[in-house]
């Protein structure tokens, strides 16, 4: 039996709500973390993950109160300590790695000094020793040139590097427990894969126990030995990662796993109905009952207790469900809806939008730019260059790439917010190089935008009715009554009931808000909808529902989508055509099934290899170098600096040619196609086989 490091016993934490009532955000949570173990804590936003993570530091957010239970660290009750004792404890034995690394560093102090501070304060290092230790720590997290790195300011580092600095800082006191709260959320997939590899290495080297908090099941599967699934402030399932992912026994865990799009499937998984209850919304019974397909009478009247589903293994697999035996007995069947089978609207070769050799820059034009050129300042680089794409009527073209690759810039240009500086851009017979103000009203109506974050894209002071009224007022000459009817039917189209029409955005959940944003775009009856990371800010169970909605709307109305995403599994599910973008240049364009099979462009290959699939123990193949890219190289291939398959100086000097794989699928690389094909494995097949192995390894359940 392993030694227990942390014991959380029937912990209940409440917050005072604005209306003055005490609302429990954690209910009766019991949890054990053994020494050297990594526990993954997974759940959707607002389920209490972060509150639990902070409780393990003996910390409550302002307004929070310990209502019941204990948190014991190595036998010491944290909430019984004095504040000085707690400070000592936090500095040495446990460390937190928060989500936004950049925000937790002071911008005006060099990173080395910031790491040295706790060393000198808590651990009694003198200045010289602290400096050496800082360099050692920075080397431990694989930052290049650690001594020089310590002299930099936070803004001089990339997001991934900042996260490494934070990890180095957390490791300074050689903690026994690391609490990682969404440590890679907001980073690009390739960077994320590197950070995960680093964490795994640190665990092997130092034997630190970790609590890894994330909403992303793929990440949790990669790092965790054991997994605890949280729902509405309660832990509903707790067991070995292989068991929880291989044979989930709680309906929520099963539903969550089923709603993640997989690389290996071309189609959309099923979504879970409903939404999680708000804190304090339910009193008795199972919190998941309203969304549960198996819910019976007992579920709403009797609190489920933890039951052990295995009696043989060393690590108990616990589940809190009245019907877990039925869940376990049911086959883990994934029902995937193939969208391409339904998409009948694609009319062959009828193109809607054509971009040819489009260059876009954010640099200002006019007199100021002229002056700057006179002063000898170099012309700013093009954000996006040489884009040639065609979007057909009724099809979905996905733009894929990491942050800063220019995906959104292209969407903004099509929307007319940022006119291109070179190239042709046409929509049927219309010219799209004109800014939105100069376009005819009917053309503006036919192109609509949906944004990533519905919090920002909906006016917080408008009711849903006013929000939906705006496009109707603008594009259609309708009476007030007709507009109201139209708004209600737009809402119904996005599966929201009519009472929502009087709500403000602040009174809806993220998924509901995104539906309203979609309803607003569709109220204009567009032919082309630009979807900019529309599901990235949503929880997985909601994401699937929104993707289904988009697919249904496309099938009904025959709109074309420009679907911008960094999530290759989602793209695989929804796209017809895929364009891969790196540093403002296209690397690969083709039909979806072609893109996801070799030969790949080296960058596509890197991206695909980095996708975290919810398979326990799966490891990303770290291909590309993890370097900071501020701007595209002046000459040659845009991917030259990070390319794992670089063949030589030709990559730096010459722009790679477009090589045609088959009609419609092109790759822009110097490496001959045959060579690429010969050296690459099919990553989709690989990920499928990994899942098979996992299913076999998973312990059979009674």
């Amino acid at each position: 039996m392993k030694q227990e490091l942390v014991q959380v016993d029937r912990l209940t934490i409440g917050y005072r709500s604005r209306r003055g009532q005490m609302v429990d955000v954690l209910r009766n949570v019991s949890l054990v973390i053994s020494k050297g173990e990594t526990l993954g804590l997974v759940g959707e936003s607002g389920c209490g993950k972060s509150t639990l993570g902070l409780a393990l530091l003996g910390f409550l957010r302002p307004g929070g109160r310990l209502r019941a239970g204990t948190v014991c660290f190595d036998g010491v009750d944290l909430f019984g300590l004095t504040s000085e004792e707690l400070e000592q404890f936090r500095g040495k034995r446990v460390a937190l790695i928060p989500q936004n690394a950049g925000q937790s560093l002071t911008p005006t102090i060099r990173v080395g000094a910031q790491i040295a501070e706790p060393l000198m304060l808590h651990l009694g290092y003198d200045q010289a020793a602290a400096r050496d230790r800082v360099v050692e720590l920075l080397r431990l997290v694989h930052l290049p040139q650690p001594a020089a790195m310590a002299e930099r300011y936070p803004h001089e580092l990339s997001g991934g590097q900042l996260q490494r600095v934070i990890i180095a800082m957390a490791l300074a006191g050689v903690p026994e427990l690391l609490i990682l709260d969404e440590p890679t959320t907001g980073l690009d997939v390739t960077t994320q894969a590197h950070i995960l590899a680093l964490l795994r290495e640190i665990r092997e080297q130092t034997g630190t126990a970790m609590l890894y908090i994330s909403h992303d099941l793929g990440l949790i599967a990669r790092v965790s030995d054991r997994v605890a699934v949280m729902y509405a402030g309660e832990i509903v399932e707790d067991g070995l990662a292989t068991e929880v992912f291989g044979q989930p026994t709680h309906p929520y865990a099963r539903g969550l796993l089923a709603s993640i799009p997989r690389l290996s499937e071309s189609g959309l998984p099923q979504s879970m109905p409903g939404r999680p209850p708000a804190p304090g919304e339910y009193e008795v019974g199972c919190a998941f009952a309203p969304r549960c397909p198996l819910a019976g009478e007992a579920c709403t009247t009797v609190d489920p207790t933890f039951e052990m589903t295995n009696h043989d293994g060393k690590t108990p697999h616990l589940v809190r469900c009245h019907h877990w035996k039925r869940v376990a007995a049911a086959e883990a069947s994934r029902q995937v809806q193939d969208l391409r089978a339904r998409a009948k609207h694609i009319v062959e070769a009828e193109s809607l939008i054509e971009l040819s050799e489009v260059d876009i820059t954010y640099a200002k034009r006019g007199f100021g730019a002229y002056l700057r050129r006179l002063c000898g300042k170099p012309k700013p680089p093009r954000t996006v260059s040489d884009i040639t794409l065609t979007i057909h009527r009724g099809e979905t073209l996905a733009l894929v790439g990491e942050s800063g690759s220019g995906k959104s810039t292209i969407a903004r240009t099509i929307a007319g917010l940022l006119p291109p500086c070179a190239g042709r851009l046409g929509f049927e017979e219309h010219d799209l190089t004109r800014a939105v103000e100069r376009r005819p009203a009917n053309l503006r109506r036919r192109i609509q935008l949906i944004f990533q974050n519905p919090d920002a894209s909906l006016n917080p002071r408008h009711t849903v009715r006013q929000i939906l009224d705006m496009p109707l007022c603008l594009y259609f000459d309708l009476s007030r009554e007709r507009r109201f009817e139209q708004s209600v039917s737009s809402l119904e189209r996005v599966r929201l009931s009519s009472p929502y029409i009087h709500r403000f955005p602040g009174q809806m959940s993220g998924g509901e808000k995104q539906r309203v944003a979609i309803a607003r775009a569709f109220a204009a009856e567009p032919d082309m909808v630009l979807c900019d990371e529309v599901t990235s800010s949503l929880d997985v169970s909601v994401q699937a529902a929104v993707l289904h909605l988009l697919a249904d709307l496309q099938a009904e109305r025959g709109v074309a989508y420009l679907f911008i995403s960094h999530d290759l599994a989602v793209v695989h599910a929804i796209a017809d055509q895929v364009a891969v973008l790196y540093q403002g240049q296209l690397c690969e364009v083709g039909p979806v099934e072609q893109i996801y099979a070799p030969p790949y462009h080296p960058y596509t290959e890197t991206l695909l290899a980095a996708v975290p699939e919810p398979v326990p123990g799966a490891r990303a193949r770290l291909l590309a170098k993890d370097v900071q890219e501020a701007e595209p190289p002046a000459r040659g291939c845009s991917f030259q600096r990070r390319c794992p398959r670089r063949i030589g100086s030709i990559c730096d000097e010459e722009t790679p040619p477009w090589q045609v794989v088959v009609e419609g699928h092109t790759i822009r690389c110097h490496i001959p196609l045959e060579e690429l094909r010969a050296s690459q494995v099919d990553l989709i097949v690989l990920s499928t086989s990994m899942r098979m192995t996992c299913a076999i390894q998973g312990t059979p359940i009674a």
Binding site: E281, R444, Q452, P499
Partner: protein, 298 residues
């Protein structure tokens, strides 16, 4: 509209409950309640005072000069024998009318211009803001005195000059708040739809800036009251013998040692009104900060 709305589950219009929510928050704060009570008492007195004053406020009574408070004259009389109670009760009327009107004007032009500048940005914004900075570097009392000595004093001139000087400060505030919203996606969405600039300013931006403007209005009101009273005190505001607090303080200040009542009661009146407005404005700001549109979904 009526036919369709009645079929819905919750047919109540949202705006009214937003107002209700603010009102509830305002009432819940003790300082807000006190401020509002003081404010309401002052406003009621200002409205009904011509009907209830015991004496004609401008009537000179040479037999009763500088009397101490008594049954006939609860606040005493001033150096002309005029009843101080009547003058105090009537003395806020001109000040309130002038400052309320000037406030509405200032908030309207300053607020709108600020939003427009924040939305437009670029050269126009840059130029206008430098002019605003230049004007703000003058002390406002200096501007009042300059304008009044050039154009003479009348209520209309006072309203204009107060609304202009205060409007300039409001431009800055409205522009600053607007800048926080202009970069948000809902404005980008409106631009991408091809909404006219006027629609974006009035329908998208104004509702978001309105709460700040309302609180600003309440704050400016008390400042304007003080400015107005200062002008009257200096002899540039209300012309005698019209009852006005600032003027009363000035008229009686020389006899402060002999007959303090003529100065003390108008000071108290002005003081309580300004404190009442400030308390109410602070509470309003807090009440608005917690309004319905920011509440978590329950």
């Amino acid at each position: 509209m009526s036919a369709t709305v009645t079929t819905l589950d919750k047919p109540r219009p949202a705006e009214r409950s937003q107002f209700k929510e603010t009102w509830r928050n305002l009432r819940r704060s003790p300082s807000g309640t006190i401020g509002l009570t003081i404010l309401v008492i002052h406003l009621v007195i200002a409205v009904i005072s011509p009907l209830v004053v015991p004496y004609e406020p401008t009537k000179i009574d040479s037999k009763n000069l500088m009397q101490n408070p008594s049954r006939e004259h609860p606040f005493g009389t001033d150096s002309f024998g005029r009843d101080v109670l009547s003058r105090v009760l009537m003395g806020g009327r001109v000040a309130l009318v002038v400052t309320l009107t000037a406030g509405v004007l200032a908030i309207t032009w300053g607020g709108l211009l600020g939003i427009v500048l924040g939305f437009l940005g670029g050269v126009v914004d840059e130029v206008v803001m430098r002019v605003v900075d230049a004007m703000l570097s003058f002390p406002s009392l200096f501007i009042y005195l300059l304008v009044i000595s050039a154009l003479g004093s009348s209520n209309v001139i006072l309203i204009l000059v107060l609304s202009i000087t205060n409007g300039i400060s409001i431009i800055r505030i409205a522009r600053g708040v607007t800048l926080g919203f202009v970069a948000r996606d809902f404005i980008t969405a409106a631009r991408a739809r091809g909404e006219r600039a006027a629609t974006v300013v009035l329908r998208e931006l104004l509702p978001n800036v309105l709460d700040v403007l309302l609180v600003e209005y309440a704050m400016r009101w008390s400042w304007m009251l003080l400015s107005f009273s200062s002008l009257s005190f200096l002899g540039f505001g209300v012309t005698p013998p019209t009852p006005d607090w600032g003027l009363m303080i000035a008229e009686n200040r020389r006899r402060l040692a002999v007959a303090p009542w003529g100065s003390i009661f108008p000071m108290l009146a002005l003081g309580t009104l300004v404190i009442g407005i400030n308390l109410a404005a602070d509470a309003l700001a807090k009440a608005m900060g917690l309004d319905r549109s920011q509440e978590a979904p329950i």
